[in-house]
C-alpha cells in the first residue's frame, strides 16, 4: 500500500509541472525549416470568386477570411491553416512543391483526444499527395480510430493547401 502510494505521488509530481502546452512547433520555426532559413516575405491570396467557392466546397463552410497569407519561393508554397477537429482548432503547417505535398506538420494541437495525429507516423502519409478531380486527394488517408474528427480536419486542410497552391501557380 505504501509502495503504491509512493509510486502514485511520484507519478503525480512528474506530470504536474508540465502545463497543457499544445505548441509542438512554432509557426516561424516551421517556415524556417521549409525555406532553409531564408523565409520570403508573406504574400496574400484574395479569396474571391472561383477560389472562394472552391474553398467553401472543400471546407464545407465559408473560409471565414478575406485573404489567406502564404509564403512563396522556388516553386514552393507554405501555408499555416486552422480547422476545428471536434471542438478546438488544429493549427497545421503545410508545404507544397510542384503541386505535391512536401510536408504536413501539426503546429498547435488543442483537442483533448486524438493525440496520434500530431506524430509523423500519421502526417508522413500525406507526402507526395496531389489533388485529383473534384478537389479530392490522390490517395486514401489511413485514419486513427478514436481521432476521426481530427483526421478529417487535417485532410481538409491538406486539400485546401493544394487548392490554394494551384491558384497561386495559375496566377504566376
Amino acid at each position: 500500500m505504501r509502495v503504491t502510494l509512493g509510486f502514485i505521488s511520484l507519478w503525480v509530481v512528474s506530470i504536474l509541472p508540465a502545463q497543457s502546452a499544445e505548441v509542438f512547433q512554432e509557426p516561424n520555426v516551421f517556415l524556417s525549416e521549409v525555406f532553409a532559413n531564408s523565409v520570403p516575405d508573406p504574400s496574400f491570396l484574395w479569396l474571391k470568386g472561383e477560389i472562394k467557392e472552391a474553398a467553401r466546397n472543400v471546407l464545407r463552410r465559408d473560409a471565414g477570411v478575406l485573404r489567406q497569407r502564404y509564403w512563396h519561393a522556388d516553386g514552393r508554397t507554405a501555408w499555416i491553416l486552422d480547422e476545428i477537429g471536434k471542438t478546438q482548432p488544429i493549427t497545421t503547417g503545410i508545404s507544397i512543391r510542384n503541386g505535391e505535398v512536401e510536408r504536413v506538420q501539426i503546429l498547435i494541437y488543442r483537442e483533448s483526444h486524438g493525440w496520434e495525429v500530431r506524430y509523423p507516423f500519421f502526417t508522413d502519409q500525406f507526402r507526395g499527395m496531389t489533388l485529383r478531380q473534384e478537389n479530392e486527394l490522390s490517395s486514401r488517408v489511413d485514419g486513427i480510430s478514436g481521432a476521426t474528427l481530427s483526421v478529417r480536419a487535417i485532410t481538409k486542410l491538406v486539400r485546401l493547401a493544394l487548392l490554394y497552391d494551384a491558384f497561386v501557380q495559375q496566377e504566376q
Binding site: 508540465a18 483533448s112 496520434e116
Partner: protein
C-alpha cells in the same frame, strides 16, 4: 458644241473624284497636334496608374482592418453556449426472418461543455426502442456523464459515469463506425457491450504510439439463481442505485503507432461478481483485439479480430459451467469510393459461449455477410444476412437485416 459639253463634264468629273495632295493633308491632324494627343494620353495613363496604386493600397488597408476586427471579435470571452456542444447518433433496424421487427433501436444525444482549457464535461443519454416507461419496450439510460481534467500535456483524469475501456465497440459504437446492422454478439454477450460504470480513471500517452487507461469503478452484480445466473451480461447494473460493495479495476494498454491500426489488450479484476452474496465469485476478464484499416488499391482494406475470456472463480459458477465464458470474432472488409458515396463489403465469423466450463454444448456461432453504404461519412445504410448456429434450433434465426444510421 458637243466637244465643249464633253470637256465640261470631264473636268467636272475629274474634280469630283480624285482629291489633290493638298486636300489629303488637310483631313489628318498635324504632327504637332498628334504629339499633343499622345502626351495627353500619356498623362492620363500616368494618372490612372497612380489611382490604381492608390486603390490597391486602400484595398490592402481594408483587408488588414477587416482582419483586425475579426481577430478582436474572437478574443472576447465566449458565452457558455459557445463552449457547449451537442452531438448524437441513431439507428433504425429492420430484422427479418422469425424476428420480423422494425425498431428505432437507439436514439442518442451527447452534451458536452468546456469549463476551461483543462476541464470539460461530457455526457450521453440514450433512448432505446422509441418508447420508455412501465410496460413499454424501451428504456432511457444515462450512459456517460463525467468530468475530465487534463493533467499536464499527456495525461487526463476522468470522474463520473464512463464507458469501460475494453473491446472495439464498447467506446465507439456509432452506426457509421461498424459493419452489420446489429452489434456483434461476442462483444454484446461477453464484454458485455455497452458497459458503463461509475468511477475514476486516468489515461494518457506513454510514447512510441502506446497509451494506457486505468480505472477503478463500480462492479457487475451477476444473479446467483435462475437461468441467467452468473451470466456476464446480466450483471450490468448501469449505475442505477447500484450495489457498491465490490468495485473493479480495469487496465488497458493500446498501441496506435501506425496510421489506421490499433492493437489493444485489457485486463479487469473484480473481487466479488455477486456483490456480497454467499457465493463470493472473484472474476478476471482478459480481452485483446486488432482493428486495422489500410489504404489498398482504390479503397481501404479493413480487418478486425477480437477475443475475450472471463474466468469466474466460485463453486456456484463452476456447477453451472459459467466459470468460463469466452468469445471471439474476425471481420475482414473492403471499402471504396463511388460517385454517390462510399461502399463497403464485409464478412464476419463470431463464436461465443456463456457456459464454457462444462461439457454441455453451449457454443453459439454466427456468420454474417453484408454491405454498408455511406452517402456521407456520417450517414449509413446497412444490409446484412446472418447464418446462426446455436445449441438449440429454436435460438437460430437465419435472416436479413436492414439498417439506417447517422452520427454528428
Amino acid at each position: 458644241m458637243q466637244l465643249n459639253k464633253k470637256l465640261r463634264i470631264g473636268v467636272l468629273a475629274a474634280t469630283m473624284t480624285v482629291p489633290t495632295g493638298a486636300a489629303l493633308a488637310d483631313d489628318l491632324p498635324s504632327r504637332e497636334e498628334m504629339w499633343k494627343v499622345i502626351q495627353a494620353q500619356q498623362a492620363q495613363i500616368s494618372e490612372l496608374s497612380r489611382k490604381l496604386t492608390n486603390t490597391e493600397e486602400k484595398v490592402e488597408a481594408t483587408g488588414e482592418a477587416v482582419e483586425t476586427i475579426a481577430a478582436s471579435g474572437s478574443t472576447a470571452t465566449p458565452g457558455w453556449w459557445q463552449r457547449t456542444s451537442i452531438g448524437g447518433y441513431g439507428e433504425l433496424h429492420y430484422n427479418g426472418g422469425k424476428t420480423d421487427r422494425i425498431d428505432f433501436h437507439r436514439f442518442v444525444l451527447f452534451f458536452g461543455h468546456e469549463f476551461n482549457e483543462d476541464v470539460r464535461f461530457f455526457s450521453e443519454v440514450e433512448l432505446e426502442h422509441s418508447v420508455a416507461g412501465e410496460g413499454q419496450q424501451g428504456e432511457v439510460e444515462l450512459e456517460q456523464a463525467f468530468l475530465e481534467f487534463d493533467l499536464g500535456e499527456y495525461h487526463a483524469l476522468r470522474a463520473g459515469v464512463q464507458l469501460i475501456p475494453v473491446g472495439i465497440l464498447n467506446e465507439t459504437h456509432e452506426p457509421p463506425t461498424f459493419y452489420g446492422v446489429e452489434r456483434n454478439q461476442v462483444e454484446t454477450n461477453i464484454i458485455p457491450t455497452t458497459w458503463w460504470e461509475a468511477g475514476v480513471g486516468i489515461s494518457g500517452e506513454l510514447g512510441e504510439g502506446f497509451s494506457y487507461d486505468l480505472m477503478y469503478h463500480s462492479g457487475l452484480e451477476v444473479p446467483t439463481t435462475g437461468g441467467n445466473a452468473f451470466r456476464i451480461r446480466s450483471g450490468r447494473q448501469k449505475v442505477a442505485n447500484a450495489d457498491a460493495r465490490d468495485g473493479a479495476t480495469t487496465g488497458r494498454l493500446s498501441w496506435t503507432g501506425l496510421a489506421g491500426v490499433e492493437v489493444a489488450a485489457t485486463v479487469q479484476y473484480q473481487e466479488d461478481l455477486t456483490q456480497g452474496s454467499a457465493q463470493e465469485t472473484p472474476a478476471v476478464l482478459i480481452e485483446g483485439h486488432i482493428d486495422a484499416q489500410r489504404a489498398f488499391g482504390p479503397g481501404t482494406i479493413g480487418f478486425r479480430a477480437l477475443g475475450a475470456v472471463w474466468d469466474l472463480d466460485s463453486t456456484a459458477a463452476t456447477v453451472l459451467g459459467r466459470d468460463e465464458q469466452y468469445g471471439w470474432y474476425v471481420e475482414p472488409s473492403y471499402r471504396f469510393g463511388t460517385d454517390w458515396g462510399d461502399l463497403g463489403f464485409f464478412a464476419q465469423y463470431a463464436e461465443w459461449d456463456n457456459a464454457a466450463g462444462d461439457s454441455t454444448d453451449s457454443v453459439f456461432s454466427q456468420t454474417r455477410v453484408g454491405a454498408n453504404f455511406w452517402p456521407t461519412p456520417d450517414t449509413v445504410f446497412k444490409l446484412d444476412y446472418q447464418f446462426d448456429d446455436a445449441p438449440t434450433a429454436a435460438s437460430e434465426d437465419n435472416r436479413l437485416n436492414i439498417g439506417l444510421g447517422y452520427q454528428f
